[in-house]
């Protein structure tokens, strides 16, 4: 139940893109068509879902004072987290290149750039600051990834639709994407404030 709560909270209530505005670079750059956005979204779900538990283990058993080394190594957190993320992204990149070359070429530089996607590092750091346990970290990773995935395919569908609109020239492209993101953020505010944990506690 706690797993589900964290998942729902990360995916809908505290959406990484639309509530925290993290991971904007690839979100804005790759959201021109639904199919590529779909691919990148899946990649982000995968990377977030894998790196969060691994980073949790690293943080708990290597870096903390109660861990295996018995020293407070938390100053290494950023480097180690990024290293884990980078290696996972490398893995995704190889898989995508092998099985879907068209997606690989469509994503281009943005696939390796998932490494520095702040949603992913941000997710890991949220996990530390919120003191999640292992299953919560996994749920937060998958949920956060799913929320990111939803946001990017939604904006991609909208951008496909407004391609036929008579948008003022000054706003075409990125300008419109920013306005859209803001409006989508308003729409997502509808769920903000729901606390699944509090509801189940009342039961």
């Amino acid at each position: 139940m706690e797993f589900l709560n964290t998942f729902i909270k990360a995916a809908f209530v505290e959406n990484l893109v639309l509530a925290y505005f993290l991971g904007m670079c690839s979100y804005l750059a790759v959201s021109k068509s639904v199919s590529t956005a779909f691919g990148l979204g899946l990649a982000v779900i995968f990377v977030l879902g894998i790196t969060m538990p691994i980073n949790w283990l690293i943080n708990e058993y290597l870096l903390s004072e109660s861990g295996l080394l018995g020293m407070d190594l938390t100053f290494l957190r950023f480097i180690l987290f990024i290293a884990v993320i980078a290696s996972m992204v490398q893995l995704v990149e190889m898989v995508v290149e092998k099985y879907s070359p068209s997606l690989y070429s469509a994503l281009g530089i943005f696939l390796p750039l998932i490494t520095v996607n702040c949603a992913i590092l941000g997710g890991s750091l949220f996990m530390v600051s919120r003191e999640y346990n292992f299953s919560n970290a996994l749920a937060f990773g998958l949920g956060g990834g799913f929320g990111w995935f939803l946001a990017i395919i939604a904006i991609a569908a909208i951008r496909e639709k407004i391609r036929y609109s008579n948008v003022p020239p000054a706003l075409r492209g990125l300008g419109m994407a920013f306005i859209l993101t803001g409006l989508m953020g308003i729409a997502f505010m509808s769920l903000m404030g729901i606390d699944p944990a509090a509801l189940t506690a009342g039961k």
Binding site: A157, I162, P168, F188, M189, S190, L191, M192, I194
Partner: protein
């Protein structure tokens, strides 16, 4: 008459702005009688402007009732003329005095921006604002400060519509965007209890009292006085004891259905003689409007039906869960409270922002009902969910359409393949025979 109007038509070259304005009012008043006769072209005068006017017509009864209800609620709060028809002239005048400025500000701001862009882009004024402009006053609390109203309308029309290229291009419902802007930017003006009843102020010591009547009412007072009717008097009276002014939903979220029925009867909620936004409260009149829209095929019944189903399903689930008193409110009572029907009839069915495929509409409506109930019941931050649920699904409507279309394409491709196979097997023996 037509000739006279044609004579005053400004020259398009010399004064483009005047021509734009002229054109807007001219086509509003007269249907162009240029109708294509042959081929597959448009065959009757049912253009976008006529379609929009139908929606505005459907809203007229709500305007009438809403205006009267503003006055009614005001006097009920003060403990005067508590019968619905008592003091009707006072209530009507009071409602009109509140309503007309809201209506005027909405239209001056919204149409002003619309006219400016039409002139700038050099096309006729688009008719989109007719409906938005008719809806916005109905979903505002009667006591909303006019400058907030103006700002919110400007935001909605500018960012929500003109940035996207004008009528028919917007992603989010313009009227809802205006309301949501007030809701998030000036929360105390729309989520508090007292704003739902016009002319009631919170005193410093915590009680409520009626505002003093201004000069406008003085004019009417002298008129009514000379006719021997009841007058407004001085105002500033205290509100009757125990009157909280809370809306049914506000009560339900605290104490469940019991708390609601202590203050309001189901009959009051059904007919709409309760505080609330101007146009949302009377259920039968909204249903009349909705039927009118369905019969004239302006709004799609699929969205309305599936939205009801979505709300019922979520209501049943919540009843089964029943963790808080609000969750235990039986699902059928949810239709009495709040703005469900108004949102269903006039907001969700907006053809621009809804899904445009038939299957998509069913999914879209269902999810609005579903999400709306979640926000209404489970989210402690907001008392009502339909406005936000519809905006939420507006965001996903293009995505739903995309996947419905993809599914269609895939299914047809499969059907084509299935049709090709027997044809091949049938063709093979024939070819063999021909060879023999």
């Amino acid at each position: 008459m037509l000739k006279l109007l044609k004579q005053v038509e400004p020259d398009k070259e010399k004064s483009p702005f005047l021509h734009t304005a002229y054109d807007a009012f001219f086509t509003f008043a007269f249907t162009p009688n240029m109708v294509t006769k042959g081929g597959v072209h448009v065959r009757d005068g049912m253009d976008l402007k006529r379609q929009m006017v139908h929606v505005v017509l459907a809203l007229q009864v709500l305007y009438l009732f809403g205006t009267y209800n503003i006055g009614h609620q005001h006097f009920v709060a003060l403990g005067e003329y508590t019968g619905f028809l008592q003091g009707a002239h006072l209530k009507l005048v009071y409602g009109l005095v509140k309503m007309i400025p809201i209506f005027i500000v909405t239209h001056v701001v919204g149409l002003g921006i619309e006219f400016y862009y039409a002139y700038k882009k050099g096309h006729g004024v688009e008719e989109g604002f007719l409906v938005s402009g008719a809806l916005i006053p109905l979903i505002m609390p009667p006591d909303i400060p006019l400058w907030i109203l103006g700002v919110s309308v400007a935001f909605a029309v500018w960012i929500g519509k003109e940035a996207f290229g004008g009528t028919g291009m917007n992603i989010l419902n313009v009227a809802l965007l205006a309301r949501v802007f007030v809701f998030f930017a000036y929360p105390t003006y729309i989520s508090g209890d007292e704003v739902w009843i016009a002319g009631i102020e919170k005193a410093a010591e915590g009680g409520y009292f009626g505002q003093a009547y201004g000069a406008v009412y003085g004019v009417f007072d002298s008129l009514f006085g000379s006719l021997g009717l009841a007058t407004f008097g001085d105002g500033g009276k205290a509100v009757i004891d125990g009157y909280s002014g809370a809306t049914p939903l506000g009560l339900a979220s605290k104490g469940g259905w019991d708390a609601v029925t202590q203050s309001y009867t189901t009959g009051q909620m059904l007919w709409g003689t309760i505080p609330g936004s101007i146009g949302e409260s009377s259920k039968p009149l909204i249903i009349v409007g909705a039927l009118f829209l369905i019969i004239t095929k302006i709004a799609d019944w699929r969205i309305m039906l599936s939205m009801v189903i979505g709300a019922v399903v979520m209501g049943l689930l919540l009843n089964a869960w029943g963790a808080t008193p609000f969750m235990e409110v039986p699902w059928y009572y949810h239709f009495y409270m709040g703005s469900f029907l108004f949102a269903m009839a006039f907001m969700a069915t907006d053809p621009v922002t809804a899904s445009s495929t038939s299957t998509g509409k069913l999914i879209y409506g269902f999810l609005i009902g579903f999400v709306g109930m979640i926000v209404r019941v489970l989210n402690p931050a907001y008392p009502e969910g339909w406005m936000l649920a519809i905006l939420f699904m507006n965001v996903f409507a293009p995505l739903i359409d995309h996947y419905v279309l993809q599914a269609n394409i895939n299914r047809r491709a499969k059907r084509l393949q299935a049709a090709m196979k027997p044809a091949e097997t049938a063709a093979a023996p024939a070819a063999a025979e021909a060879q023999a």
